[in-house]
């Protein structure tokens, strides 16, 4: 029989039972748009958290993972902020994914401190639904600050980087993405209220991309 205070901690989502993952979510759930992934996340990403996503290079599904989520978030009259993306996010593709382009905000910075400052401001102010930042988390304290800033509001922070992050990270979700011949291989090294998930293949919309209306493969001339 657990004591009342333990019961309270369980209800607040501060601790979870190892044999009963996914307690009732304490924050708004943001559906990723992929049923198999949502199942592993216990219904979706919890708002007000930071996702650290490591991927080896563009083209392996790093945006496809987020696009359905961003499309839904872009229905809110709040910004979706992109800090220092590696290339230009291509408007026709974002529009085709259902994202309202008027919510997109691109920020380019010039020195090492500014991206962190921008992300922290954007996460704290509450006028962004999601904040995506491409920066290498060289210092664990920076990640902790961003996770803290995200938890103040219902804003989802996503930290995208190519270097492996240090083993301990304050981000609520830690993901590693690898390209694969079919779909992408995703490992959830850390997730809310559940054990880590070893590498698993997810389609992440690749099948639909390859079998879309104009996807017919014609013989090369």
């Amino acid at each position: 029989m657990p004591s009342p205070s333990l019961e309270q901690l369980l209800r607040q989502g501060q601790i979870w039972r190892g044999n009963q993952p996914h307690p009732l979510p304490t924050r708004e759930l943001l559906v990723s748009g992929y049923a198999d992934l949502d199942h592993e996340l216990g219904g979706g990403w919890q708002a007000g958290n930071l996702i650290a996503l490591q991927y080896p290079g563009e083209g392996c599904g790093e945006l496809r993972l987020l696009l359905p989520l961003l499309a839904r978030l872009s229905q809110q009259p709040r910004w979706i902020l992109w800090v220092d993306p590696p290339h230009t996010p291509y408007a026709p593709a974002l529009a085709a994914a259902g994202i309202d382009l008027s919510r997109i905000l691109l920020v380019r910075t010039r020195n090492r401190q500014d991206p962190l400052w921008v992300m922290e401001q954007a996460l704290q102010c509450g006028s962004c639904s999601a904040v995506l930042g491409w920066l290498e988390p060289s210092d664990g304290r920076h990640v902790r600050r961003l996770q803290l800033a995200a938890s103040q509001q219902q804003t989802l922070g996503v930290l995208l980087h190519q270097q492996p992050s240090p083993h301990t990270s304050a981000a609520a979700y830690r993901l590693q993405l690898q390209p694969a011949r079919h779909g992408s291989v995703l490992a959830l090294a850390k997730r809310r209220h559940n054990w880590p998930l070893p590498e698993r293949r997810f389609d992440l919309g690749q099948h639909r991309l390859l079998t879309g209306a104009d996807a017919c493969l014609r013989p090369l001339p």
Binding site: Y90, A91, L94, S102, L106, L209, D214, A215
Partner: protein, 468 residues
Amino acid sequence: MSLYLALQFPLLPLEVCYSSDTPGPAALCEPNPPRIQLCNQLARAQGVEPHQSVASALARCPELQLCTPCPSAADSQWRALGLWAGHFSARVALVPPCGLLLEIASMARYFGSLEQLYQRLMTALQPLQFSVNSATGPTPEGARLLAITDQGLCLDPRQLRQRLEALALHQLPLPQRQLQQLAGMGLRRVGQLLDLPRNELAQRFGPGLTGYLDRLCGHQPDPPTYLQPPARFRRHQILNHEVTQIQALLFPLRRLLAELEGYLRQTQLRAAELGLTLHHRDQHHRRLLLAHRCGEQSAGVWLELWRLRLERETLTQPVIELTLEATRLSTDQTGTADLFVSPRQEDPQLLISRLQTRLGHAAVQGLALTEDHRPEYACCQRPPKLNRPAQQPLAKRRPSWLLAQPPPLAEPPSKLAIELLSGPERISSGWWQQWVRRDYFLGRWPDGRLGWLFRDDHQRWYLHGWFG
């Protein structure tokens, strides 16, 4: 019924001369003959008094800071306080010397109650760091008189009469000769004077005295002349010491911005751009501009933006004067009200202003579609605008990353083990400007990544984007 709030700034001529935020004993001295004109509480505690000679004041308080009167600075500060008071009432009158009169009965509902309005005003005055005496009263003259003795809230004529009756006669702002005559008649309190029949008083002292008493008690209307806000806000401030650290400019700036906020609230405008001129010695000056996207009134928001803006600057020489002006005003009242998701969420435009202030204007961009078949022209960056959702055209399969400079492939895809999964899609357009004739393919790299390749007329292969 009207109600007036009188504010008296008794030490204003001295306080505009302070050279630090935490002054010690200080006094204003007339040069000829050298006498003390005004002194602050700390000096008074050590025995310094007005009309004392400077020598004896210094004998009592050796560390006394002596300031030379600067009537123009005190005057412009007084007028600026009149603008500042616009925050609380649209009807503000300047009452010499160094006093303000606000009509507040009509504003009580807006602030909840008179007590709340009074508390808010007193709290807002604190950061300006001026000594102030205040009182309210149903007549302008009554409020003024009670303010001299700092009597606080007094709401109705009966209360006014009670308080007036208790005042000593010499506190009335009457000619010295009349006060002496009244004292000679054996009168000590204002109550005794008010009890005397008016006709006899008028016969003996003329209509000036009875007219004043009637205005004091509200028997005769006495509408004040209210201040007309100027068409432009421009405020010049002489700093009392040279400022070498840029962060130190924020202290005088806070006061100027509070005055600006009062001005904007009274005129129902928003400032869209502010100019701050830093004056150095030898007529040199530097002008900094700061914009807010859809205009803002709040001094707090502007101060935060200025803090970010000034962080980017360094001072090469000390600043001796400041000028703050509103270079662009906007009348936009609705602003972005419909975009508020919840009242506690801040204005979405503020984030952009904040980012642009620190990173530069071009660092923050929005994204839009353009009607062009050429992939590199189908997407453009533009100033961000959070408008209502637009109808999105259905696009074909396009990569989510587009490379600005398509790198050429060293060899054809087949030799690089790139598997072509779909294509070709012929894109041919732009003969009028930059002719593009390309065949696009979706290719899978050996490691599984998906890219967007094209082959040009010369059978050369390029990578144009990633399906991220």
